[in-house]
């Protein structure tokens, strides 16, 4: 037993026994070794600071951007833009401040244009007689084109409604060369004249079905002028200076949303109300009480605008009414070099009289009339950016250059020419429209030569390129036809009206995923269209939102899902065009339904059918309860009584020294916001916010950092853009477990993407719900869409939270170069509703706005102390 114990003990104490075997010398040797090792470990170079890239200094600046003036074709007219270029590729589009039609702002469509340029679904290879070809072969085909009939009677040119002086010249020459050829434009926006208005001078404005604040190529300056005048009245606190806007409309319009009073009637009744107004002005009594109510205000320097598509005599009626009121628009001749009409050409085609068709505007030849007519044309030479039904039929396809790849010159109706400079070499073998036409004329010159030789002779070419505008070119003004007797329209039980989609237009932007996903005003619908019905009619048909109905018309049967709104009158069916393409890319293909050919068609029956289609809507509830997020005021506005700061156990923190720099803040004027969504598109392109697709929008996962909440109270509409509020007491910061959202020195609520693990607690605790989450790998967009990404903004991966940063990259760049900082949403806003700046700077507009009696914080009672605040809505008298 004791032996075993000894063994155990010796095993137990083996270690110390060995240690004691170490003699003195060996011990000292080890000691020396270990101490010198310890010392050596501490020998290193003196620590030096390296400068992290995020706080980049001027001399280290890596991103050198260049800006070029160019022109965005907006419904055939020029919107002057500045394109930001990085290493030879365009990365952002801004408005050209020198351009009279943009004044630094742009439309959402211009903002999103890069998504068309870098679209992976573009036509990439020329096709000649069904075989893949090179660009040289295409040039040869065009140069050697000889029609069977030398005068060209069997040739048709289907031309775009683009107001380019050079294109007009080329077409005129072509008409000389082939005097019997047909020239026609299928474009839905072509018109003989275009009327412009000076809204700043107008005291009261009445529109009949015309949306002055959306869709029109000059909506940027119209809304700016109108709001400038309204702001002047507000700034001077004088109610008598307030301008008035009244709207009689059959469909919801942005002008109606901003109006002081609007009336929804059927399409026919809109025309009849305009006639009522004329009668009233001519001293005849009518039963139209609404018009009578507005009349006194209208008589004080008023203006009336009537939608030209309402009636063939609309222009004449407008001119006559305005002659009574004192104001009028200015009309400009905008006729295209056409020599026939669409129906005539289609008849010719169907009769087999056309052998060759040059389809230069394929996207508007998708309806059944065009398609069946084109069937009969043996040779179709199509020039298009994207595949569609017509390119699918064509044996010869010449890919078109995007407007950022080609030279051009685009006019405003007043005749100001904007040079369209290419920002990038064509990504694929393609031709611009001017080059296409000049090759047909046997002109072998390059595009640039065509334009340079033309404009150098007339103006200072370099200056024109720098400024983007060529002055001195006078367009022909015209007068609206005059007429005295007008006929009234019958009002039928049902009327169907197809409006251009507020975002993708007539379909010209259907391939643009950003615009497809841009929420439409009033419906908040994305990626598809719907049939808008009034509540009464929906009750009558026993349908709910998303139920399908069938509308039988003289032009065929239309089936689609119902969307109920208070913004249409009974008996009206409103829908939007641009959808229902069958042979487009994945972006446009089979979205919504094709409605274009049903506009104004006689409706025989409307009935509910089985089935549902789920909408991808970003906002489901548009009703404000008794705690309205949008506040209104009337002039004169009084300063609300100062609220006492609630008692707190915790004293306010003193501002630390490093917080002495600028303190950023934003105000959003809800009076002037017209809800055009341009800021949303601007934010999306500036901040590399990917689109998520229809299915993900259905699941409420859209990524827009800035959204425009729409609230509808019967006929009154409020728009409220909601970016991150950058709360001083941000609820999101407290709950993040990993410090991924923190407060910055400038008062910014910052998001550290790299640190985010994706608990989504911050989003839960955000009362404004402005945080967005990458539920999937949304940023992995197909190439080459990523080429349009802003190099200054990181691309967020799956599982990361993101939100509005107040464009922190612009703040950093502004601080570095000492420039005024403007956020992307602010820059693009046509009415300057969004103002951003340093709150410490007493002279800044934002600091002034914050002192305004109209200023209020959203959800003030939550005590978050947001840096973004709102200015209350002020309307004129109803």
């Amino acid at each position: 037993m004791s032996q075993m114990m000894d063994e155990n003990l010796s095993r137990e104490f083996e270690g110390p026994a060995e240690l004691s075997a170490l003699d003195r010398r060996e011990f000292l040797r080890y000691l020396g070794l270990f101490s010198s090792m310890t010392l050596l470990a501490h020998c290193s170079r003196k620590p030096a600071n390296i400068i992290p890239f995020v706080n980049e200094q001027k001399e280290f600046a890596v991103h050198n951007y260049e800006y070029y003036a160019s022109a965005f074709p907006s419904r055939g007219f020029a919107q002057g833009v500045l394109v930001k270029s990085y290493q030879g590729r365009p990365v952002k589009i801004e408005g050209n401040p020198d351009h009279p039609w943009s004044r630094g702002a742009t439309s959402a469509q211009a903002q999103a244009a890069l998504y068309e340029l870098y679209h992976p679904g573009r036509l990439t290879t020329p096709l000649i007689n069904g075989k893949k070809a090179k660009l040289e072969d295409v040039r040869g085909v065009l140069l050697s084109f000889r029609p069977q009939d030398a005068k060209g009677s069997d040739v048709a040119f289907i031309i775009p409604a683009l107001h380019s002086p050079t294109m007009t010249e080329l077409l005129t020459e072509l008409r000389k060369k082939y005097p019997e050829a047909s020239f026609v434009s299928p474009s839905p926006w072509k018109s003989d004249s275009f009327t412009t208005y000076d809204l700043e001078a107008v005291n009261s404005l009445l529109t009949f079905d015309e949306d002055l604040f959306s869709g029109r190529p000059d909506y940027l300056i119209l809304s700016r002028a109108f709001m400038k005048r309204r702001k002047m009245a507000i700034d001077t606190n004088s109610p008598h200076l307030l301008n008035h806007l009244y709207v009689v409309s059959s469909s919801p319009t942005l002008a109606g949303a901003k109006s002081d009073d609007q009336l929804f009637v059927s399409r026919g009744a809109v025309w009849n109300s305009a006639l009522d107004l004329l009668d009233e002005l001519e001293g005849k009594k009518t039963s139209n009480t609404q018009i009578q109510k507005w009349l006194p205000e209208l008589k004080k320097s008023g203006l009336v605008v009537i939608d030209r598509s309402l009636h063939p005599d609309a222009g004449a009626l407008e001119a006559l009414i305005n002659s009574h009121l004192g104001h009028s628009g200015k009309s400009w001749d905008t006729r295209l070099p056409e020599n026939t009409t669409v129906t005539e050409l289609q008849a010719k085609m169907k009769a087999g009289a056309i052998h060759t068709a040059f389809i230069l505007e394929a996207e508007f030849t998708l309806d059944s009339d065009w398609q069946s007519a084109l069937e009969k044309v043996p040779v179709k030479i199509t020039h298009s950016l994207f595949p569609n039904e017509t390119t699918a039929k064509s044996t010869t396809i010449i890919p078109a250059s995007h407007w950022l790849e080609a030279w051009g010159d685009i006019a405003t109706p007043q005749g100001l020419i904007t040079i369209q400079q290419p920002l990038i070499e064509p990504l694929y073998p393609s031709l611009g429209i001017h080059r296409f036409l000049s090759l047909l004329l046997g002109d072998k010159r390059e595009e640039q030569e065509i334009f340079e030789s033309k404009w150098r002779a007339k103006t200072n070419w370099e200056e024109a390129l720098k400024k983007g505008v060529v002055s001195g070119e006078i367009a022909k003004s015209t007068t609206l036809p005059s007429k005295k007797i007008f006929t009234r329209l019958p009002v039928s039980r049902w009327e169907i009206l197809v409006r251009p989609d507020p975002s993708i237009g007539f379909g010209e932007h259907a391939e643009n995923p950003v615009l497809q996903e841009l929420p439409r005003p009033f419906t908040r619908l994305t990626w598809s269209n719907a049939l808008l019905l009034s509540e009464n009619e929906a009750d009558h048909l026993k349908v709910k939102n998303e139920d399908l109905i069938r509308v039988k018309t003289e032009n065929g049967t239309l089936e689609g899902p119902v969307l109920i709104t208070s913004m249409v009158s009974d008996g009206m069916i409103i829908t939007y065009s641009g959808f229902g393409k069958k042979k487009g890319t994945q972006i446009s293909g089979n979205r919504g339904f094709f409605a274009d050919s049903f506009n104004g068609a006689k409706v025989t029956t409307v009935e509910k059918i089985r089935g549902k289609k789920r909408f991808a809507r970003v906002q489901l509830s548009m009703h404000m309860d008794d705690h309205p997020p949008v506040k209104t005021a009337t002039l004169p506005v009084m300063k609300p009584p100062q609220k006492a700061t609630p008692a707190s156990f915790y004293p306010e923190h003193p501002i630390p020294a490093q917080e002495q720099g600028p303190q950023w803040g934003m105000t959003i004027d809800l009076t002037t916001c017209i809800g055009c969504e341009a800021c949303v598109a601007a934010c999306q392109t500036e901040n590399n916010i990917p689109f998520v697709g229809e299915d993900q929008v259905k699941k409420h996962r859209y990524l827009h950092w800035l959204r425009i909440d729409n609230y509808i109270d019967e006929k009154t509409v409020f728009f409220q853009p909601v970016p991150c509020m950058h709360c001083e007491k941000a609820p999101c910061e407290v709950v993040c477990p990993v410090n991924a959202t923190v407060h910055g020195n400038g008062g910014l609520n910052e998001m550290v993407y790299n640190r985010c693990v994706g608990t989504r607690y911050c989003s839960n605790n955000c009362p404004y719900k402005v945080r967005r989450f990458n539920f999937r790998s949304y940023s992995a967009v197909p190439k080459p869409w990523n080429m349009g990404f802003n190099p200054d903004v990181s691309v967020r991966d799956r599982g990361v939270m993101e939100k509005c940063t107040f464009c922190v990259q612009r703040i950093k760049s502004g601080e570095r170069y000492g420039e005024t900082v403007k956020t992307a949403c602010q820059t693009v806003c046509p009415t300057e509703a969004i103002v951003f700046g340093d709150l410490r700077d007493e002279k800044s507009i934002v600091a002034e706005n914050k002192k305004s009696p109209r200023n209020y914080d959203l959800l003030e009672e939550e005590g978050t102390r947001p840096r973004t605040s709102y200015l209350k809505v002020i309307r004129g008298n109803a």
């Binding site: 906002q619 699941k699 996962r701 477990p737 693990v757 608990t759 839960n764 599982g799």
Partner: protein, 430 residues
């Protein structure tokens, strides 16, 4: 029955009834592979496969987490608090309850990880030295949560294991299998049953019980703070901790009752898991349930008393909104069904007790669903309201964890002495 035969019986129970357990493995493996597959899809695609959205950024993962943690409460409650209160009747069921706790907490622990947008960075929630000098943000309840759940899980595991040592030694001594005797031998840490070992063991279990007792209260209190700290109507309430703890114990006892009733029947343990045990459990179910009812009443009463706009709106949304059916079903399960237990005859009817317990388990899951989804889907700004619906992957993972839980329990039942031998002996001795 001699103590020796009790030893043999209890250590061999799992072997004797192995076919009962093996039969169960078929559905259990099905559920587990469903869980694994769903998790694979989840990690591959991202949490976009779930139904979560903005504003409802938390969904099934959080609901399931809170539910499983809640179930994990009864075990430690029974073994620690009842031990301190010298409720000796608990002896024959405490091992089962503790095992249940362990696997419930393990299932619960999976969810916060899977819930993350980037689960591979879960360790950022823990303080560990790193070259960026970045520590967790200690104001966030999620960090407290990580600590609370991990502490609870480790103390529960320790408590369960320490309690198991003498029985593992008994199993080691009884088994005829070589492998088993080696494994049990290692696991029992050389337990030889001397008086000093018993005394030390006893002291240690008491100490651990003292340590575990505040944890029973703290863990669900802290889980409740995930909600209560957020300033959302329906979440921002000071009484959330007791509310959640009572709910947790409620669901925990319901799960204990379900398992005991099943086990007693399948393993013929009427002499060990007696009517008395079930009666006591039913009483605890009633106590915690009644307290929960009080909390419900308190919640609605304080909102009514405060008349705060958004709180009132939230309550209305809860009572009459699109998900009101779930709310009323929850009230039925948690409040109404439990009332039958007031009648002694019904309480002693095991079929009724079983049904009520299942109701409570469903009701407690619905409660978390209502808390999470109702509040989040009804936002301050009317424009951001949106609905929520779990997808098939949400369901697959929830149902899959039943398989994970069941598998753990089956392993315990098959291989370990799940009725504490020593404590039964001790109780018999008395």
């Amino acid at each position: 029955m001699s103590s020796l035969s009790l030893d043999t019986r209890l250590t061999e129970l799992g072997y004797e009834r192995r076919w009962t357990l093996y039969k169960l493995l078929v559905p259990v493996f099905f559920l587990m592979s469903m869980f694994l597959f769903a998790t694979f899809i989840l990690l591959k695609t991202g949490i976009g496969v779930w139904g979560v959205n903005i504003p409802v950024a938390w969904g099934f993962a959080i609901i399931n987490f809170v539910w499983w943690v809640g179930i994990g409460h009864a075990g430690t409650f029974i073994s620690a608090i009842l031990l301190l209160m010298r409720q000796d009747w608990r002896n024959s069921i405490n091992r089962l309850a503790e095992s249940m706790t362990l696997f419930a907490v393990a299932c619960a622990g999976l969810f916060p990880l899977l819930h993350l947008g980037r689960p591979w960075y879960f360790y950022w929630l823990l303080p560990y030295p790193n070259d960026m000098n970045l520590f967790p943000q200690y104001r966030s309840p999620l960090v407290w949560d990580a600590f609370a759940v991990m502490t609870y899980a480790s103390v529960s595991l320790l408590f369960w294991y320490i309690g198991l040592i003498p029985d593992l030694a008994a199993a080691r001594d009884k088994t005829k299998s070589k492998i088993k005797s080696v494994i049990f031998g290692i696991m029992s840490l050389g337990w030889s049953g001397t008086a000093s070992e018993w005394a030390g063991w006893k002291r240690l279990t008491w100490l651990l019980a003292l340590l575990a007792t505040p944890l029973v209260i703290s863990v669900h209190s802290i889980v409740s703070l995930d909600f209560a700290v957020a300033k959302l109507p329906g979440w921002h309430s000071p009484f959330f901790p007791p509310y959640f703890v009572s709910g947790a114990i409620y669901s925990g006892f319901a799960m204990v009752i379900v398992i005991l009733l099943w086990l007693r029947k399948e393993f013929s343990l009427e002499d060990l898991i007696t009517d008395l045990h079930l009666e006591k459990c039913a009483r605890y179910l009633m106590i915690s349930g009644t307290f929960l009812c009080y909390c419900y009443a308190l919640e609605f009463f304080t909102v009514w008393l405060g008349q705060e706009h958004y709180e009132m709106k939230n309550i209305k949304h809860e009572f009459m909104g699109p998900k009101a059916v779930l709310f009323w079903l929850m009230i039925f399960c948690n409040v109404v069904s439990m009332q039958v237990l007031w009648v002694k005859k019904w309480r002693k009817n095991h079929k009724i007790l079983f049904a009520v317990s299942l109701c409570v388990l469903l009701g407690m899951w619905l409660e978390r669903y209502v808390i999470v989804v109702t509040t989040l889907s009804d936002t301050f700004l009317p424009a951001m309201k949106a609905g929520y619906r779990g997808t098939r992957w949400d369901w697959a993972i929830l149902v899959g964890t039943f398989g994970v839980f069941a598998f753990g329990m089956i392993c315990v039942l098959r291989f370990l002495p799940f009725i504490p031998i020593s404590e039964i002996k001790e109780e018999r001795h008395k």
